[in-house]
Amino acid sequence: MRGLVFNIQRFSLHDGPGVRTVVFLKGCPLRCRWCSNPESQVHQPEIMYLERRCLRCGACSAVCSAQAIVSAEDGTRVINREACTLCGRCVEACMPEALRWSGEEKSAEEVAMAIEADEVVYRTSGGGVTFSGGEPLEQAEFVYEIASICRRKGIHTAIETSGYAEQGKIAALIPLIDLWLFDVKHPDNEKHRYYTGVDNEPIIANLRYLSRLGVPVVVRIPFIGGVNADQETVAETIELLRSIGGVREVHLLPYHELGVGKYGQLGRTYRAPGYSVTAEDVDEALEKFRAAGFVARNDGIKPRPRQAD
């Protein structure tokens, strides 16, 4: 079986225990306003354009039979995404890698082989693989296949999920996933819908389901100024997690504006800058969680694929 992968990142230190390889799967049902991985949202491959690397040589336009990539006045390129057939010829023709694929079809075996490459490092560090995205559960069957191979090879598996998925998909993966890193973005349904585009009810139901079965879960909160970092929301979140029971560990992922530049590369606009939080906010919240009996820690920001440049 094949899936849409947009990055496989080795030597990742903060997406589960030990040294890990993170498999980023493309496609996400949420549209979080602060998303720093815009290229992870869409369910198909896209072409990214990095103006900084462009030599304005015109090779891309010359090979594009759809005439979808044209020169702006200053020689930089503009992609007409409607006209583009995603044939990839421009990417091949672009020597300085100003054009790149975001998202590639790969087989489960291929991905498993890439994961296995660091097997020695997992063994010495207690690491393994983490499936991330996008939303990995959007490609649950693909994850299932890769995770089955990992199980056979004795590689620890974790999944980093928004929790927004049919319960059946989660049920199927439970035996194969050793650790669930489960996002809780906002305790209030309305606000959740406003910021992410979807309801939080199915997410909370899924979290309840996992905890009831005693599956190891770490709740991760992308900690965002003006969204969920205020005292009140923190208190509500604590209340919610208490009511669910079974969750012992909470990680805060303080927000930094890192991915903003990428919106431009994909021909999209970034909707709402200004979500960064202060160190004091984070410390205060951590205290609250700890006071409420949770193991709480600051875990940096959400995983985001590195791009060599």
Binding site: R10, F11, L13, M95, V120, T124, D309
Partner: protein, 814 residues
């Protein structure tokens, strides 16, 4: 977090700037002695040169080995000695701390040339008093005209080889052992501790008595034995001079405590190194005298203490058992010795014309841990105390190393990781599981292989018994590729310098390219061997080393100086540099010209001829559209393995005049920068004159998948063949390894390195300065990973404010 990139090797003979305050407490005495070392501006001391030359003038009719012994004895008997206030371990190299003696027998030519530039250098600067200059120039150095190793060796170098030697853009850099003594020894310190020089003299006398003087070799042996006795006695007399000096100071001092210390020192120097050491303090002092004398005898570098924790431990254990010493006292003694390592310094040969200079280092390699002769872990209390001494003293010397294997205790690894975290690039880590089989393949016995030491930077050797010539030459592999792609014509000079291999257009496959490359390698390795064997013969003729010989296993038994091949093991180790540059170049040719046919030879040649000017797109194509070594991709990594094999197998064909074999290494000692100056543009996309890849690390900027992929790629290089050593430099951002979690991470990483069967690894932390450079030249640093609030990002990709923030944080980390 991490980058696996490629600055210079850190250990240099000079202490680094900006060392932070000590984190654990040294005694006030140690702190004071240590700080003294940091304050002194190095200078040139003329005494050794003066005394040595006087003796040579007096002994012209005598055999060389005896002249050498008498000259050393004269130096030891008459040079200035001192005991610095507070010192517990005594013995000095020159008339002042961190002053360098002159060794005219090897260095007269270049000292004369550089006499006026020593004090004008930016780095490796030495003060030279006017009267010292005058005496050297007018009285001492002229005597040596025509007598040095350099002049005599070059006079007999065969003409074709001489041409290769004199090339403007050379493939081979072989001058270290032409212009200096060889050094690079780990002498038999434990033997001196066990039997003393009295015991060694007795052994020599017994051998001498047993000689049948009618045997053809017996008279040469007799000379060597006489020389041996002269230097052994001189060593003892030298110690007695310190006993007297201590006594003298004791009488003068008002300070009661110091008086008792000085009296103790006097007793100790009266007893060792003449007799077997009885206590830890005596063992340390005897060790230091032996170490010091090896340094006074020749200007060789990288005289390595080796497995100090193994041969010293019994003395410590006995004293602790009997309650003769407390752990604290023992630690202070050890710390005092650590300071002495930092006191030694030698003149560096930096020809004024060279614009870029690789660097010199004293490289007194002291190695801890590893397996014992039964293959069990040998870590002991002293191993830990040595790590503590390093924390307390933090000078550039000794070059501290550890040996690891599956059974290395976690506690020891953690203790070592804590020292690594200090960011000084120490200790370097060596892998028993690769090095031991490698040594076996060089014909070293199992017992000696298990007990191996590291010489200099990274060169494994059997202990106490090896004259290994481990840093014999640097061999420029990318230059050979340049010639292979240009019919043997140097792209920079336009001259025919290598064999005329076919023009690239006539090569129908990558195999033809590799064949041409092999031809160039074979040609230059052959000439390198002729050069080094010439130096070897001349070193034996004019520069015997009787002191090092009587403390090297095999020499007394064979009755010859070690320069004649009498040590138990004899190697010559030249290093291949630029493995990654050749591998990436071959990968680009194979993929783009022969497989994808996306590039023609005509176009590639034009691009290389023009150093990519006007061919930017070709350069980008080479950089981006072909596989690169360092990304755990077998396509390029297999070529890297092949490049390593070609060089190693070629070198291994040869033997040296001492009856030993050639042992290839793949490491650079910071020469990747100057060696890069002589290489034109390469199909890897590298520009003419820019640095080559460092050791077996990937090319600058071509490793895109992080350090684990680098480890995997590097593990495919033939470490077991490169028995003279390989080098891998990893950079860590300080805060990645901060805290308990960071410490554990570092240990885990080292365990992975061990399992992957790499020879050597060392870590550097990324400095704020590097980050600032990265801000200014983002392209060069495109793979610099940094930690951003708990996760890693490429530094050049994050916005300016955050960059500044990280710089700020890095400056304050640890």
């Amino acid at each position: 977090m991490i980058v696996v990139k490629a600055d210079q090797m850190v250990p240099g003979s000079y202490m680094k700037e900006g060392m932070v305050a000590m984190t654990t407490t040294a005694s006030p005495r140690v702190t004071r002695l240590r700080n003294l070392m940091r304050e002194i501006q190095p200078g040139v001391c003329v005494e050794r040169a003066r005394l040595f030359t006087q003796s040579y003038r007096e002994t012209e009719a005598e055999p060389t080995v005896i002249r050498k012994a008498k000259a050393l004895a004269k130096v030891l008997n008459h040079m200035t000695i001192y005991i610095t206030d507070g010192e517990l371990i005594v013995g000095n190299l020159a008339s002042r701390p961190r002053w360098a003696p002159v060794f005219p027998e090897t260095a007269a030519v270049w000292v004369m040339e550089q006499l006026d530039t020593f004090e004008r250098r930016e780095k490796y600067r030495f003060e030279v008093p006017e009267e010292v200059k005058r005496e050297l120039r007018e009285e001492i150095l002229p005597y040596w005209r025509g007598k040095t190793v350099q002049e005599r060796a070059l006079a007999i170098l065969p003409p074709e080889t001489k041409e290769v030697f004199q090339q403007e853009y050379p493939v081979i850099s072989p001058t270290l052992y032409l212009r200096n003594s060889v050094g690079h020894l780990n002498v038999d310190y434990p033997k001196v501790l066990r039997v003393g020089f009295a015991g060694i003299c007795q052994e020599i006398e017994e051998r001498e008595k047993a000689l049948d003087l009618t045997e053809p070799n017996a008279l040469a042996k007799l000379q060597f034995y006489q020389a041996g006795k002269i230097v052994a006695k001189a060593a003892v007399d030298f110690a007695h001079r310190f006993a007297e000096e201590a006594r003298r100071q004791a009488e003068k001092t008002e300070d009661h405590k110091r008086r008792r210390e000085l009296e103790r020192i006097a007793e100790i120097c009266r007893w060792v190194p003449e007799h077997p050491a009885r206590t830890f303090h005596e063992a340390l002092q005897a060790f230091w005298f032996v170490h010091l004398l090896v340094h006074i005898e020749t200007d060789g570098l990288a005289e390595s203490p080796g497995r100090f924790d193994q041969y010293m431990y019994p003395y410590l254990a006995r004293d602790l058992d009997r309650g003769l010493i407390t752990e604290e006292e023992a630690q202070e003694l050890l710390d005092c010795l650590w300071v002495k390592f930092g006191e030694l310094i030698k003149l560096a040969d930096v020809p004024p014309a060279t614009k870029y200079f690789g660097g010199v280092t004293m490289s007194q390699n002291l190695i801890l841990g590893g397996v014992d002769k039964q293959g069990r872990d040998a870590t002991n209390k002293l191993s830990y105390m040595c790590l503590t001494a390093e924390k307390h003293v933090r000078l550039d010397q000794p070059a501290l190393s550890i040996r690891i294997h599956q059974g290395t205790p976690e506690e020891f690894l953690r203790a070592a990781a804590e020292v690594i975290r200090l960011g000084d690039g120490k200790p370097a880590i060596f892998n028993d599981e690769v090095i031991i089989p490698g040594l076996l393949s060089d014909g070293v016995s199992l017992e000696d292989a298990l007990d191996y030491v590291i010489i200099g930077c990274v060169e494994p050797a059997p202990p106490y018994n090896c004259n290994g010539w481990t840093n014999a030459a640097m061999f420029n592999m990318p230059k050979c590729l340049e010639l292979a792609l240009n019919q043997g014509v140097c792209r920079l000079s336009g001259k025919q310098v290598g064999p005329a291999t076919p023009p690239p257009e006539a090569m129908s496959s990558i195999d033809d390219v590799i064949a041409a490359y092999r031809t160039q390698i074979a040609y230059f390795v052959r000439h390198m061997v002729i050069m080094l064997n010439t130096w070897d013969i001349v070193q034996a003729e004019v520069n015997p080393t009787p002191f090092a010989s009587i403390v090297t296993d095999g020499c007394i038994e064979n009755g010859l100086d070690m320069t004649l091949g009498s040590a138990k093991y004899n190697f010559t180790g030249p290093q291949g540099i630029g493995l990654a540059d050749v591998a990436d170049s071959l990968a680009a040719i194979k993929r783009l010209i022969y497989e994808d046919k996306a590039l023609t030879w005509d176009r590639l040649k034009a691009a290389l001829d023009n150093n990519f000017q006007g061919y930017e797109l070709v350069r980008h194509q080479l950089l981006n559209k072909a596989p690169k070594y360092g990304n755990d991709d077998d396509y390029a990594d297999d070529l890297a393995r092949l490049v390593g094999e070609i060089y190693c197998q070629e070198v291994k064909k040869y033997k040296n005049p001492r009856g030993g074999v050639y042992r290839p290494g793949l490491y650079p000692v910071a020469s990747n920068v100057p060696l890069g100056r002589v290489v034109g543009a390469l199909p890897s996309g590298r520009l003419a004159g820019t640095p080559l890849a460092d050791g077996i690390s990937p090319c600058h900027g071509s490793d895109r998948l992080g350090p684990t992929a680098v480890l995997k790629s590097v593990s495919k290089v033939p470490h077991v063949l490169a028995t003279n050593g390989t080098l891998l430099n990893l950079k860590l951002q300080a805060d990645t390894i901060a805290g308990e979690e960071g410490l554990q991470r570092l240990c885990n990483f080292i365990r992975a390195f061990c399992s992957l069967k790499l020879n050597h690894i060392q870590f550097n932390t990324v400095s704020a300065e590097t980050l600032r450079k990265a801000q200014a030249n983002p392209h060069e640093y495109r793979n610099l990973l940094v930690r951003v609030a708990g996760y890693s990002a490429f530094f050049v990709e994050i916005n300016r404010d955050l960059q500044d923030d990280i710089i700020d944080r890095t400056e304050h980390a640890l």
